[in-house]
Symmetry: D4
Subunit: 227 residues, 8 copies
């Protein structure tokens, strides 16, 4: 491998894909899980140096990583609820994403999704705690749902919210199952299966608790809807 | 074993539990699956002889069994959609059960549930095709839902209908997942998991496609609600 | 969304469904899992203010939440075995639910079920430690089982108790699998499957360890049986 | 329920949601699975009468249903590979979707996706047989991938194609796992899991073999990208 | 491999383990599943020639294999219910096994178990249709259960019968789950899990529908109990 | 329930089945899992008082329970490897059980099995570390295997040892899968499935890590083999 | 895509990867599953034209495809047991692979593996019916096992054979689980799990029934061992 | 068992298979999981005494075991990343293995594989962080891949890397799924399934996170390729 290939940047423990923004329009993101705090800091710093004009993102950070980022990178923005950090100015938002969550316990995943939307260049708003057991809360926001360029719908337990939202409006919808629940929720698998089997069409599903992936997809949809 | 025990009736291939009505208030029912058509006929006939005043029921009958029952037991009522047959007069209905189904493909299970309710002594009505992707259909029947003594809610795919119904009314609710779906529906397991993880409380779930079991439970609830 | 909608009450982190009692006859309940102790206290207080005449309930509370509730809400009743707390006077009981548990290790789930029954307006009694490996203990209480308006049957491991009880009496039966067991119990999935496949009809099953949901369903059945 | 409600149309066996186009921009589609051929014909005819200006679609049709549609509805277009039929003129296409398939055996699902895109108002093109074991075939079409408004990527077996495509371009991507494979493919579950766990972000996944759902989502994305 | 090794006998398509009786006390048995009818006949004939004094057994025979065995081996005994055939005189029975089955649909597995017991040298009796939903039928045979040297207990659905029997008597018990059931019975997996998690100790479980394996184990226990 | 029923003994938190020895020949055993240390001590003491002449057993004890038993019941014997404790003199051994384990990590389960055999009245010996990857170790003990009245065979990972032992000797064999392994061992499920699908007949399987259940079954077989 | 790219050959329904031999040393193989018989014939013919000097292979052919190949391609060799066909002369064999199978029912998979080895340029021999329940059959061929350059070990049910072989010799071993079995064999998943969890190291596992994949890997190992 | 059998060495708690090197060419390895630190030290010491001329290996060591090994065996080499230790000089390397890893989080498994290759007598090199979402990184090392005698390919999440590598080169390939991922990665099961279903042939898969087993197989292939 050619260490001078400008498309990669070798940190010793990692080979940063600095070419990704050229290929896909979005820079690489640091997945904090399984990485040591100092690796997170080094990766964030490297990505920031390569993309000084555009916010870079690190997700799935534990308390130690959040602390070290705050200490070592004073310009970083740390989001405790989303368990994430960013560095650099956000891109100008194009289009508008609405992040909808079923319950208060889904807040961390919804926050990660919203932050990821912003970091990937779309506008974002949130509506929380509109689970299907209280339909009037959801029906009250129908117009807001219909006005978005893309929806991110976050729910645990039986994961029914995307089906109901997808029957109300025809906006492109990204569904995020969460691991909220117990027993037969099987760590989020029940919500995941519910969303995959939705009787409403036009729903794309991401991995359990994957607010980040949902945010990227929704941002890409919203951005090009606004072009 | 004492072959003269009046609580059982030995047919050679089966030992009919003729005491069940005394213990539980309901006679034994013939589960047709895995039985030969002539066994179904013999069991129906025996149960009818022991319970001449009360409809007896056979479920999960294949085409051959339905035909043989119709031929051998001219007084039997055969329900092709429910894949079931009854013999004898229905009990006087007490209370009222509403059977609600999400899609047209759920009709066989809903029919089995409704027939089982009637055979177990409660009144029954049905509302079909009110899936969660078209909420206005469901909201239009909210008063009917609230007026029942018990609800049987039948749905396949993601199985979200019980959650939405359970958030609209506080009537005792029996949920029946069906095997309608494909791929990640896993033969009805996804709908089953969805119902078990419902965010609305007060929902009891039965086995996949088990309209019979749901009908028995709903009838028992409705009967005693009317006493 | 209209923040002045009287049907919801916005706490910032949660949107309380204060309309639920009007729709379903029962107020919303605080599911403590995944919520911070101070959120539990705030939610309990809000629900109590909206329903001062009727006991409100919080379940799945960890030790910290139980402590904070006891400290912050001196009028609350804390049930350490059920890992739950209530605030406000219990509704006058209508009808009678019997909670039956297979083993001593099932006590927390049985306690949660019993407390939920009481909070939802039905009378309640308990019978513990009557597993199927000692049938004489169960047969000795057959008359008590038959006299109830609804049964909640709690069991872990192979989950056979509902089948045996359901063969003894025809009372509406809510079965609760517990996560008690090891190895092939798969965290309660085996007990759940056993209950769903019961050869006795008329059994509604709830999620693993879901004493609360079982209590709500049983209370609703018992209440209307007594009207 | 009000039978004169203009938002539903009661066929006896089904309650057609003719209001869906008003809510979501797209008319209801007939899911042929589990329906009798004459039901399929009646539903297609009803939907066509309500939406004479816009193609309506029936999917998952068996040979008998395809034959009956061809016989009873001479104006219908029958697509044998996609196992689907349409009636009425296609909407004017807005935006452009590219349907990419890994192997020749994935053709039926890719064809269903492409037909669904067209019926939902977007332009569509296909690239087949570009599995990851022959990367040069995929790299040769990189520019075509990048030029689309939305991608539908269809693959069975290990389902790796979306990961590779998602690393090459940043176009919104809908991934469809297929049931092609054997043994540990578990009827498409392995491909589904592969796509959900993709290391490339921005991928929304639909149910196994669900070309229809993928087509609807991709068409919605492409349509609004062209507005 | 030495083709003259007296411990194996090469049939071209199979290498018969004629030494097995010397090692384990029991000759090899022909598992018919996956073998062609003429292979079954050849294997039965070979085993009979090597063990002329002792019944040899073929199990899991389809209709064609049963017919060919009957035609080609006139001395064979064909058991249509057990889907099995034997050749040669049964060993003198030592000890006594009781085969207990929960439902009439379990008869084929119970019959295979009983035949296997007899072929492996123990006496055998059967009690059928004593499922746990009718306890009086089981309690009526308690003395018979206690008098056996070994029990084979056969049940499908929730598989609760071994738990109840194992709580009534302390006889060595071999439990056989069957594939009888539907939906969440998962082809017998639920019954299997139920038996493995039994709250009664002293139960050994075999594969789903494996009457043969249970019969061998029970016969070995009974034989040595009588020595 | 009659609190004076001599067949049960009410401890407040538990109803001890003191009649079990009369029914099954063996007293009840304390399953420590899910019980508090002081409950374990109280149950052991009660069982000992009812069965002063016969060792009683408590299994699955955590470090705190082991310590409290040692402190509160000085006559108890504590087995740290087996995580178990006994109280009272062992019954005179009848027959002989051999406990065979595949690896050193299986020692706790093998120890629990051996202790359970002794507590249930049979003689016991152990052979450890004879996994199938080193067949000479197993072949060297073939005569010892053949001389036992019953075998308990303990193995984790692929669980192949019972198949190999069951092909060497015809002794009744109880197989115990253990949770030793990682990744695709799925907490012992792979070993369990391996044992259930053994190509050697005559093997009864118990739950994962259930040395106790295996010991009871093996002891019952050995005891009656010696009568 | 450039239709003149010499690395692919477009058949209309498929894009043949004729460059594969240059990249990997082996030509593409036709996987018959999911393809129509005439597609199989066209693909075999095309591959043969591109590789006239080297045998090309089609696997997983149904009876119709086997017949059409025999009729349309008279020079093809059809292997009914392996359900496969070849066209063209076999490569000169380098190195030696031994294919070992546990039972007679595993013959189709073993035959596919052996044919694949030959088509990929290594010598091959077979040993059948050496299951672990008759160890003497396996021990008798230990020297043959040790002399091979690579082993393919085929087994269904518990899949224990690779563990035992892998403990006897240190030859590179490719394990193939088969779908032979019933009940808890879960269509070969149990054998697959057994092989993945083998206590003997140095075993690579392929998909259930994937004799082809195992043959390719073993041939590559054997070929380079002989260079 | 003969304690003087030179093929085993009894440590009290374990029976070391010191004959393994004679049978398979490689000495036994200490699997640290489930063993106490002092057992690890004793086993390493014993194996080293028996194989003084050849490196012996202990894997899956926790921090305590790593510390005790370092303290008690000063000649040992401790690899913190691989969580492993070796004692004695490495064998002279024959042939060359390349260990390829998809992400930085896969480093511990890749390190275990590389160390195992070296301990089993082959040369080894590593390439890290070449996941399929950045193909240019992989294409840049194609020649290095093709030059190896065997490849170990390590990946978590969707596990697609072996498919892509196996389509680029025809080198014998051992695939190692890792437990890196979350949600639907199911602890590595998704990556495992992806590798088993690879559309590229010639891939042997080992257990999740089993770098050791992959290293042994790859070393054996490489060694004999160089003979």
């Amino acid at each position: 491998m050619d260490p001078t290939d400008p498309r990669t940047h070798d940190l010793g423990f990692a080979r940063v894909d600095v070419d990704r923004a050229a290929r896909t329009g979005d820079p690489e993101v640091v997945l904090g899980q399984g990485k040591r705090p100092e690796q997170v800091v080094a990766l964030l710093r490297t990505l920031h140096e390569r993309h000084p004009d555009r916010m870079v993102l690190a997700t799935r950070l534990g308390p130690e990583a959040l602390d070290l980022v705050a200490g070592e990178l004073p310009d970083a923005h740390v989001d405790e609820v989303a368990r994430a950090a960013t560095l650099g100015p956000p891109p100008a938002p194009r289009g508008r994403v609405l992040v909808v969550a079923a319950g208060t316990s889904d807040a961390p995943v919804a926050a990660e999704a919203a932050l990821s939307v912003a970091a990937h260049g779309a506008g974002v708003a949130r509506i929380d705690d509109v689970g299907v057991a209280g339909l009037h809360r959801l029906l009250a926001v129908r117009d807001e749902l219909a006005a978005a360029d893309a929806l991110v719908v976050v729910a645990g337990m039986e994961g029914a919210l995307p089906s109901v939202v997808g029957g109300l409006v025809g906006v492109p919808l990204v569904a995020v199952p969460t691991s909220i629940g117990y027993g037969a929720s099987l760590g989020g698998v029940s919500a995941l299966l519910g969303m995959l089997n939705s009787c409403a069409p036009g729903i794309g599903v991401v991995n359990i608790d994957n607010g980040y992936g949902a945010g990227v997809l929704a941002a890409r949809i919203a951005r090009q809807s606004a072009r």
